[in-house]
Amino acid sequence: MSRAEILERLNEIFCEVFDDATLNISEETSAADIEDWDSMEQISILMACEKMFQIKFDIEEASMLVCVGDIVTLIENKIC
């Protein structure tokens, strides 16, 4: 799966979590860009990723995520 494909599926998750169908995230998108994105919503995002990509994040990985690109990289490393 390419980074672009991962990003596309991540976008679906973001739309769902923030209940905003118009969201269009990029790899640079970070918590600063989405008003409701805080550490709590991060839980929902990570849970949804784990389910969608059939992977598990450990505590080290979950603590290091800053922007969408970080999540993409992490998923890429786990599924490829």
């Binding site: 769902e16 923030f18 709590m40």
Partner: protein, 596 residues
């Protein structure tokens, strides 16, 4: 909302909680009671609150939350807190877990020291409960403790005083002892919930170290659902009964085709045993005042032949109403509700056929029909839904089944009389109308929270508010009980009048719908007038505030010969009765027992 009904997809709820909330709030027809809930946590509580809100909205309760700062439950409970005091919670929920236990027993401690530790730990909670009971005077929900994730002593952890498992079990027993002997405190059984979910997943330390959640995030909906069940039960929103299909629901096989002798029920073989277990589970509900009825597509003769099968646990007399005919199930369902004199949505539909379930739930708003599939799981599907969460056991509850049976009997009798007055006279009704008495405070508060139809102002009260009103010299309170030859209906009507000089403002007037058209409203007004006269009150002002459900009493004051004096843009009306002009007693059929 399907997404919030058992068995729910917990992960989907966590993911879509924003969207679900938006949809719930968009349901215009739903009338919700507003309640303020203070969540005092020993862990992160944000998602617990967000998800609890969804379940409560779905139960017809619109919550407003106060959330303590992280792990400030003790401080918030024990010290003056202006914000919480101003909030005036209707419920306080202590969301604590075994992560909040301060000291652990170790092998180095003597049994005596461990005993003291236990007392100290318990007294922290006891002090909090005592203080919030005094200051906030509202019901308290308290988590007990989930069993520990680790067992240092292995199996011995459970029975050695040095074991943490043993310690937690003891604490839980102390919590249970307190909650079982004090009013207004309810335990949220974390020990059971976590075991049901699986302690290893429930207490996954990832969520504690990452987010300070002592309950794993994917398990949050189970906790939130459980707390919401307790809250809806406190506010009188439990379900009242079952409407049951027969073939392949209460027994295996189809009585009309297979013949009663070939039904699968009883100890002879596995399937029959499973149906027996399910019948036993249903029958146990009747002790709680939960009513059982039958809605079956069958000839009555066949249905009864099935019900009379000697191996059934449920006997003919356990069913208050049996409908066996070829009407549509939604039609029968409505008829059953009407005969019991309850709202259809207060009955649970149990049918193995998904098409029938869909028919009923789509045709009748608000009816729940658990998606039962295999008889071995029928019971658990119903059990986990929390339809009948028991927060209090009142005498009325224990008598309720008898009451429903009497209602159905009254309706059958009614058909025999030529004239309605003759029917009412034949009921030999006796009412007892008194001021609010302490023994009834719980039931009175419950009634104010669940009566929607015959309710002029739809004001909701907590038990403490009821107590205050009962003791207030500026208020007249009336609580009416009604008995007839078929039995005791219990408390059926309430009135609260606020006295201001020589005027009585009727702030609450409600009546249970199961005794509509029985002249009880007349008896209540007569009594209010009598009480007003004793106090030299010259004018009674009545108020009608329209809601989606109380249209039936829009003209009540007019029917009672009050004169309308104003109406505002919200169609709220004010009505006047001038007592100086004299008053003719209105009740004709009820013998009223005077207050002692």
């Amino acid at each position: 909302m399907r997404e919030l009904e058992c068995p729910f997809d917990a992960e989907a709820i966590m993911l879509k909680k924003k969207q679900l909330k938006r949809k719930l709030l968009a349901e215009e027809k739903t009338v919700r009671i507003k309640k303020k809930i203070a969540v005092l946590g020993g862990q992160t509580t944000r998602d617990i609150i967000l998800v609890m809100e969804l379940f409560l909205l779905n139960y017809g309760i619109e919550p407003e939350f106060y959330e303590s700062e992280f792990n400030q439950f003790y401080q918030d409970a024990m010290f003056p807190n202006e914000q919480l005091e101003a909030f005036q919670p209707d419920i306080i929920y202590f969301c604590t877990t075994n992560r909040n236990i301060k000291k652990f027993p170790t092998l180095r401690k003597s049994p005596g020291e461990i005993e003291i530790m236990l007392e100290n730990e318990f007294s922290v909670y006891r002090q909090m409960w005592e203080r919030v009971a005094a200051v906030y005077q509202c019901p308290v929900i308290q988590n007990n403790f989930e069993l520990p994730l680790y067992r240092l002593l292995g199996n011995r952890d459970a029975y050695d005083v040095h074991g943490f498992t043993h310690y937690v079990n003891r604490l839980n027993a102390m919590f249970a002892e307190y909650a079982g002997t004090h009013k207004n405190i309810y335990l949220c059984d974390l020990q059971y919930l976590s075991a049901d979910y699986g302690i290893r997943s429930w207490s996954d330390p990832f969520y504690w170290h990452m987010y300070k959640y002592a309950v794993a995030v994917p398990a949050i909906p189970f906790l939130a659902h459980n707390v919401a069940n307790i809250i809806k039960s406190i506010f009188g929103k439990n379900k009242k009964g079952f409407v049951l299909d027969l073939d392949n629901t209460l027994w295996g096989g189809i009585v009309g085709d297979d013949g009663p002798e070939n039904l699968k029920i009883g100890a002879e073989e596995s399937t029959g045993q499973a149906y027996s277990e399910f019948q036993r589970y249903l029958k146990a509900h009747t002790d709680l005042g939960i009513v059982l009825t039958v809605n079956s597509k069958n000839d009555m003769e066949n249905a009864l032949a099935g019900i009379r099968h000697p191996d059934n646990i449920l006997k003919e007399e356990d069913f208050t109403i049996i409908k066996a005919n070829w009407n549509s199930k939604d039609q029968n369902f409505r008829d059953i509700a009407a005969e019991l004199n309850v709202l259809p949505e207060s009955l649970i539909f149990v049918d193995d056929n998904p098409a029938e379930r869909m028919m009923v739930t789509e045709q009748i708003e608000g009816v729940r029909a658990p998606e039962i599939d295999d008889v071995v799981h029928y019971g658990i599907m119903i059990d986990r839904s929390g339809f009948f969460e028991v927060t209090s056991i009142s005498e009325d509850d224990l008598k309720r089944n008898e009451m429903y049976r009497n209602n159905a009997e009254r309706i059958r009798q009614q058909a025999k009389f030529a004239d309605y007055g003759e029917y009412l006279a034949s009921l030999e009704m006796k009412a007892r109308i008194t001021a609010f008495e302490p023994i009834c405070f719980a039931r009175i508060a419950q009634l104010t929270n669940k009566s929607n139809q015959f309710n002029l102002t739809t004001r909701r009260y907590t038990q403490y508010e009821i107590e205050e009103l009962a003791n207030s010299p500026e208020h007249i309170t009336l609580c009416g009980k009604l008995e007839d030859k078929f039995g005791d209906n219990g408390i059926v009507s309430l009135m609260i009048g606020r006295i201001e000089k020589d005027v009585c403002h009727v702030e609450l007037w409600l009546m249970s719908c199961r005794i509509l058209k029985r002249d009880m409203e007349c008896a209540m007004l007569d009594q209010l007038v009598r009480k007003c006269r004793e106090r030299n009150i010259s004018q009674i002002l009545g108020y009608y505030y329209p809601t989606a459900k109380n249209k039936m009493v829009e003209q009540l004051y007019s029917d009672m010969s009050f004169a309308k004096i104003s109406e505002n843009e919200k169609n709220e009306t004010v009505w006047e009765m001038d007592l100086r002009k004299g008053y003719l007693e209105k009740n004709r059929y009820i013998k009223v027992e005077e207050e002692k």
